[in-house]
Symmetry: C2
Subunit: 229 residues, 2 copies
């Protein structure tokens, strides 16, 4: 924060950043499972125990990487959307979807850290949730603009889902019709199903030309939430 810190504090933030950088490098290269505190320390020319001055455990280091990855993903999605922000909601939607997919393809291990198997005894700290919700908020914002322009035709909902949908709407987007919010949440999960299958190799031998396939699926996803043109 304040640049007018003592040399000690400055060194601390620098070393903390260096540790995260090296950890991120190893994460990108080998995956979270093979990320080793000792290897990080070795690469930085220090001894493993010294690293515990900066991160109290391996899981804490991983958590820091998770937050950074969520931010990186959110930033990628937001900058991509910003460039087509004046286009129609459908185009904005598919742009965001493709940006998320592109980020996942270029950061497969980070993606796995965010949306793959969770770490055994791990529960997301509060700092995570804000960073984690950026993509979702972006999709909601697109639907909100469409709703304001009157181009959002939310699909019908069965009666037994209505209370839950209104509850979700109150939490996530009070200005949107509950049916739209329910459809948005479902589309959100389905989007990461498509991306996860591609990143994790489930499409191997099944889908060959995955980019047009994904583009079409993202389009249908948008139509599923009622985004028209």
């Amino acid at each position: 924060m304040s640049t007018a810190q003592g040399a000690r504090a400055r060194a601390r933030t620098e070393i903390t950043a260096a540790i995260k950088d090296e950890a991120r490098r190893q994460l990108a290269a080998e995956g979270a499972a093979k990320l080793s505190l000792r290897a990080v320390a070795r690469a930085l020319g220090m001894v493993s125990s010294a690293l515990y001055r900066y991160f109290p455990s391996r899981d804490e280091l991983l958590t820091a990487l998770i937050v950074d990855a969520y931010d990186s993903l959110g930033a990628a999605a937001e900058t991509a959307e910003k460039q087509v922000h004046d286009a129609g909601p459908l185009h904005r939607w598919t742009t965001v979807c493709e940006a998320v997919r592109a980020w996942a393809m270029t950061h497969p291990h980070e993606y796995a850290l965010l949306y793959g198997t969770p770490v055994p005894g791990y529960t997301a700290p509060q700092t995570t949730v804000q960073a984690a919700s950026r993509v979702g908020l972006l999709l909601i914002a697109i639907a909100r603009d469409a709703h304001r322009d009157g181009t959002l035709s939310a699909p019908a909902l069965p009666a037994d889902l209505h209370p839950e949908a209104t509850r979700m709407a109150a939490d996530l987007a009070p200005d949107l019709p509950p049916e739209a919010v329910a459809a948005l949440v479902a589309a959100w999960a389905q989007l990461f199903g498509l991306i996860g299958f591609e990143v994790f190799g489930q499409f191997h031998g099944v889908v060959e030309h995955r980019e047009p396939f994904f583009r079409q699926a993202a389009l249908r996803l948008a139509q599923g939430v009622g985004l028209a043109c």
Copy 2:
């Protein structure tokens, strides 16, 4: 295979099964990351090196568990479908979806093994693919029956996806229209997106009453592939 084997061979298959059972127990209890060969050996009263007579590595043991898990999931889906096999395709579809979800909820760690982060240097051996495709084949069969009855109205497809769709159709279901196959594959991935988000806790604090939510999403998935009544 043949029951008329020597005592030695019989003991081998028995011990192999016991190892897998204990490993499965530990997998279900703690997750794949914490599955330890030494702990398995300890629980079975043998020494860790003896276990290598039966599985050449930890990854091979995990692979065996993966195949079993795929079979367990496939069997659960198939038996659920069998009980509503005479109903309409829509009902059959949602039944299969809900059976897959139920299996995932009761076997979260096995689910993570199948559809979560893949093991670092792991590529699925040929023995896996057959077991892995059972759920997909079930969904295809439902669409096939609907197509035969004339109740399958496949959605339109952009021109650039047509060659890929016909290629997928030729591989997966030559008797179905390519648009239907493309929609099926997308729905397949999206289904596991919904389930994965629920199993991995991504819906925590977002979706509360997840069963009706999922039921509705599965229904819309079916409509997305063109299943009518």
